[in-house]
Symmetry: D2
Amino acid sequence: MHELGLQNGASASASELKIGYVGGGSQGWAHTLINDLGQCSDLSGEVALYDVDYEAATRNAEFGNRVMERADAVGEWRFEAYQEMDATLSAADFVVCSIQDPPDETFKHDLDVPQEYGVYQTVGDTVGPGGTIRALRAIPQYREIAATVREECPDAWVINYTNPMTVCTRALYAEFPDINAIGLCHEVHPFQELFAEIAERYIKTAEDIDREEIDVTVKGINHFTWIDAADWAGHDLYGYLDAELERRKPLPGYEPGDMADESYWTNQFQIAFDLYDRFGVLGAAGDRHLAEFVPWYLSIDAPEEIQRWGIRLTPSSARVGGETPDKMMAARVDEFEFTESGEEAIEIMRALLGIEPFKTHLNYPNQGQISNLPEDIIVETNALLTGKGVTPLCAGDLPGEIHSMVKRHVTNQETLIEAGIGGDLDLAFQAFLNDPLVTLKREHAEELFTRLVEIEREY
Amino acid sequence: MHELGLQNGASASASELKIGYVGGGSQGWAHTLINDLGQCSDLSGEVALYDVDYEAATRNAEFGNRVMERADAVGEWRFEAYQEMDATLSAADFVVCSIQDPPDETFKHDLDVPQEYGVYQTVGDTVGPGGTIRALRAIPQYREIAATVREECPDAWVINYTNPMTVCTRALYAEFPDINAIGLCHEVHPFQELFAEIAERYIKTAEDIDREEIDVTVKGINHFTWIDAADWAGHDLYGYLDAELERRKPLPGYEPGDMADESYWTNQFQIAFDLYDRFGVLGAAGDRHLAEFVPWYLSIDAPEEIQRWGIRLTPSSARVGGETPDKMMAARVDEFEFTESGEEAIEIMRALLGIEPFKTHLNYPNQGQISNLPEDIIVETNALLTGKGVTPLCAGDLPGEIHSMVKRHVTNQETLIEAGIGGDLDLAFQAFLNDPLVTLKREHAEELFTRLVEIEREY
Amino acid sequence: MHELGLQNGASASASELKIGYVGGGSQGWAHTLINDLGQCSDLSGEVALYDVDYEAATRNAEFGNRVMERADAVGEWRFEAYQEMDATLSAADFVVCSIQDPPDETFKHDLDVPQEYGVYQTVGDTVGPGGTIRALRAIPQYREIAATVREECPDAWVINYTNPMTVCTRALYAEFPDINAIGLCHEVHPFQELFAEIAERYIKTAEDIDREEIDVTVKGINHFTWIDAADWAGHDLYGYLDAELERRKPLPGYEPGDMADESYWTNQFQIAFDLYDRFGVLGAAGDRHLAEFVPWYLSIDAPEEIQRWGIRLTPSSARVGGETPDKMMAARVDEFEFTESGEEAIEIMRALLGIEPFKTHLNYPNQGQISNLPEDIIVETNALLTGKGVTPLCAGDLPGEIHSMVKRHVTNQETLIEAGIGGDLDLAFQAFLNDPLVTLKREHAEELFTRLVEIEREY
Amino acid sequence: MHELGLQNGASASASELKIGYVGGGSQGWAHTLINDLGQCSDLSGEVALYDVDYEAATRNAEFGNRVMERADAVGEWRFEAYQEMDATLSAADFVVCSIQDPPDETFKHDLDVPQEYGVYQTVGDTVGPGGTIRALRAIPQYREIAATVREECPDAWVINYTNPMTVCTRALYAEFPDINAIGLCHEVHPFQELFAEIAERYIKTAEDIDREEIDVTVKGINHFTWIDAADWAGHDLYGYLDAELERRKPLPGYEPGDMADESYWTNQFQIAFDLYDRFGVLGAAGDRHLAEFVPWYLSIDAPEEIQRWGIRLTPSSARVGGETPDKMMAARVDEFEFTESGEEAIEIMRALLGIEPFKTHLNYPNQGQISNLPEDIIVETNALLTGKGVTPLCAGDLPGEIHSMVKRHVTNQETLIEAGIGGDLDLAFQAFLNDPLVTLKREHAEELFTRLVEIEREY
Ligand SMILES: [Mg+2]
Ligand SMILES: [Mg+2]
Ligand SMILES: [Mg+2]
Ligand SMILES: [Mg+2]
């Protein structure tokens, strides 16, 4: 009967909702949304799909509509593809953004060209040369989305999934300061699972603990997040980290080549624990992301060396062509099975509609949740979502060295936003030069930046 | 199944708890605690009662034990009176502080002496001459409590109910910075009820709404709190305030004498709405409290004039002897009926033990929840309580004039803490002079302050 | 030969300067400028006089030109009256603003109407009802000046003398953020003289000390400035303040009526020392100004009571008609004698031209000089003026209670600027209500504000 | 006649001064002091020399006394060597600190051991491995000095010359917060000369300009200072930097080996201008220092490569034995000639004694002079020195990327202070790891740090 329970009064708008989906031709996240909406009984309405690849959006719409016709689908949703973004977002209650950079080739260059200069990137979508150039690509797209929201659905909640998360979300607010936008990322979830394991290992009474039972304090910027407190049912879990670190030592614990047969997405928390060992706070994103924010993991001589940290460089080949349009998809609705996606979008929508409060971590403008970072930059912390909107939870200061490392990227990202809005490539180059992965000689850095910008221009 | 639901794993420490109660001889709050513990099935242990009036504590212990023997008491608790504070708090899991100033007469003087100088106070326990002198009395007491906690139960959660709330809670942290302490006050609850009424009045589908269904953003310092957003089930309620203000106009809506037959505690939200009218943000404490924080309501010529605002001055007579020890109390356990107290202490304890998350507003050191007030001062905002502890929710800035009004009291309270710790009456006088109710000529202010300090010394 | 001495290289622009003078028809400051320019041998050029009273400007131009013809005039300056502000400021190197509110009657009402409500003002041009209404009058005028500067002479240095100083100077920056503007006021000078006297009284070797030899740390906002350090030739003078305070006690030291025969501008440092006694920092403006910033000096029952503090209320009659145009003026050039004006404008111009560095106190946007006030508000501190421009000297924090008192006015002034720019009288009323002198009942405050605004509208 | 001129009243304490000199056995700076005091006619007193090498102090004392006997020596000073620091500083008016690390060998290791790991340092006394280990050595020494000042001469002005400047000066304040201490460094002077040249090159009327005529805005931390404004006699010089940069391009302008025959201290402003090219603000310390604060200049494959930037690595051999005690020194007083040293210590003392104001750049606790760096850290900016003490001049914010680069070192330096005070080598290692020059693999970094600490321990 407490304040956080299910509320009696159903929200007026929980039926006949409209979700506008920018990037709605994608197979991955669109199918997840169809899966989740199909299993949600208290929301209904229309999903409007917009994609530069209109055909892909049409295929997804058809697929969605057929899934909803299935007997085991409890949701009532219509899917429709649109040719224009403004019609897609017109009077929307929610806007989902999950866009792929149109030409896959750009991603290839984002990774391969820097390697020619000895700059290796494990992901290349957030910081480093790849993240920088992606940011410059994304800023005008996200300004356009924000401008459309301002015109078509200024009160809608915008949920972004695209990387570089911080820059994309910031661009939305830069264009339309009154926008209601959040950015969602899954990188912290495995850490709840990690702490569930730690609980099971160190606490006698702990068995079969779910991720959701673990309460962690999240703080930082997307993909460079940190955890400095963890609890399960009143048991402090953070205090077991020292024992767990000893158990996992030595770090790094692998040899070059050890990961050769693993998935590109493999993650052993080696860097997360190494950061804990260095700075006393647990890094809380996948090691492939964490490695890119500081200079000392990726200043390597050969691509396979990073495997010592239990991860692999994701080659551009793994990125290109990954999501080939499946033209037969609609025909295969019969094979479709509802699954538990692990996605939180539906729970977030329900919370924002006033149905049931929900707590999660998300990316949102700083209004004090990290008290020693500037106001209005996008930070990632826990937040409580209710009918009243998003209320961030205070996460406190970032301590000394961690503040210094994070602030450096905050500065670069703010510079990129300013550069992207003003179309000022010289300014963008300042951020590029100040990136920890760019320890090149000045003239090489300039050459690399110029090449990346020119490749980008071709598309 | 979301993160905020009941957690599977019961906390190891939910049974055999120890609650140390400083001021445990009081009838009011002690009986509430007995009432609430008697109805709580998943906590058990000992309540240790300490009071300067040991007999009163003994009576309460006997009463508590007999209540627990009743058939309808589901709780398992032993009550015991103690003669020493250190034994009371030894190994406690929770410490409750609810102390009365020992000599009732001091309260009398806190109100009556300033009236001789034309300074009227509606309550006199928070700011103004009464609040100032109470602060000076309370600071050494609260430092002693904090010092005992440091020695006897440094990890315990300390729940304070005593006024002046801000100064008492701050004194705990000043003495023992690592203390886990919160301050609880009920003044915001009627505003949730007010918004429930507003919902019922203005929203067709809204009926029989409980206070707990209303989500408000609380921000400020104790008894000078503000609400700038309110929601029920996804419906913005704050937008109806303009209509509600018009409905309630003119403000003030009463004449001197109108309240003569009302309770001293009557409250019509007249000042709360007048502050909304002036500054665009709803004042969110009882009007009797709000009136004391600014100079313009209480600069009156006669005591009954404040009744124009729908409240009364609480005379010192209403304060003295109010709680005469009921020596027959134990004999009347049979007449005792369990009631719903509206107190949240049990829910707070259950949350902090990791049993079930709970959200409420409380007084806690600022770590960013109000981003334009200094760190570490005690502010009142919403917070989420879990096994991990207290996590304040971001409330954002205080806007211009409100910031200026609140900051003035923050400064005074910090000065009082510094003066109280250093035993520096000259410094305390600076805060006294800067209080909005003290618009006296300098020499009169000095005389009044000196008299109040001397009366205090006698006790 | 040190950095602060006279520089070898004469500035290219020290001859053929242009000074644009807005309000150039006034007798007072215009004559001072003529006096000072006539004695300055290393600057020359044109003074362009603009006034809504064009005839008065013409008279001043004629007077100035005739003074320059005198044998003892070493300066080479031409004076010319203009009908348009843009021509006046076109290509100016310096702009001087010293404007009188056109209808003297407004000032009368600013003082007399509030007295009907029991609100007494000793000056009425900075804060309080008078200051508030003057601010609303001045903001559009100063925005027009700033807009003209932006068009006609964006690099010029603008020197403002008009009250309310803080609001006028802030309005310049609000309209044209890149303006180079400072505000000058003399209220601190008598405090240098006061400290010179203190040196002579308490230090054996000190004799005949000039104001300029005294180095004081100035901090605050105009007319509510504070001094917390003072030195003469390496001797700390601030340490003698306690002795000096004792010597001057009791405070207040006068009776109502004592000042009846004194000038309206008489000042005995009674309030300055009383503030030192209360807060440990010396108030550093004339007592007539200081009294208006806090509620406790002017909450009096009769006008003459303020005389207890050694000052008088300046009646509106003393303000009206004070400066009747002297149409015979030009004829009296022969009687004119060059004097030492005590004005610093020439020294400031010489410093900004790179001729000789100069240190003084002035009003300028905060960039850290008072570290616990917001950036960009106008504060008054010491500054060094050189060819590089104005560099404020760090003055440090304002301590507790003083910060709280000053911050309240900062908030009000910022609100007035916002209200003035947006034409939002409701917002302006918030500032009015939050003024320490306005302790009226709400409805009386509203009535007073409305009357003042309406009187203003007539003009 | 303005405020900054020579003051009439001579300071009471300008004669019979006592200067305590810690490190007074050095030949370099001690001889400079003797030279300067010998030519200063308005100060006199005693110089007390303290050094761990007492003999060296004795030799300097004898030398000083004999110089003062010379006919052309106008100063009246006695020099005396002391065996104890407390007697040296007893009742001192000024304390000069200029200490050499006792065993020269440590410096050798500071440079050579990191080179084994591929970490090259151009100086190695401020940041990087060498600066880090020096900081750990210096912190206890400087705490001892501050403790002695607190006991023996708490009001004295302490002038520090030792590197790492920031950490040494900060350690003084950490130990004794009320100390009056400044840190002096010459690295900005050549930039005044650079701007004098620029004036002469680009301004027709500019000839034979002295360094002292150039007014620059200095901001940053020692050896990582920046200039963002420059003026000569009212002429903006900063605007010529773009032209000057073009004239100097390409950058870097040398080849490995080009500097082989140059002094180790050669400096061509190549890195200073490169930073201007990158970030729009001129780096303002010698290139050898600037190169060590960012990762991209010194991540080289061979020692001579840095010569491309017009500088050389200073080998440890250049440091060891450089100042062999000259036992014949006293005998050579006859050969001594007074010269203009360029040192400002005497001018600073005269200013602080109230004789003549002086403006220079110096290292001092931040109180707002750099508004986006934390309070109390040691920053380098301009300051005005008068009898009232040191008043920093506001320098404004550090812009984006520069703030991020500087803040990283501020964090490291604060961490080192905390580590040095607490004797916490793990904490010190955090700072070491976060140094831009330490881009080593974790285990190599750990090994290097451990080796450096152990070498240090031997001494
Ligand atoms: Mg992600
Ligand atoms: Mg209360
Ligand atoms: Mg003035
Ligand atoms: Mg140096």
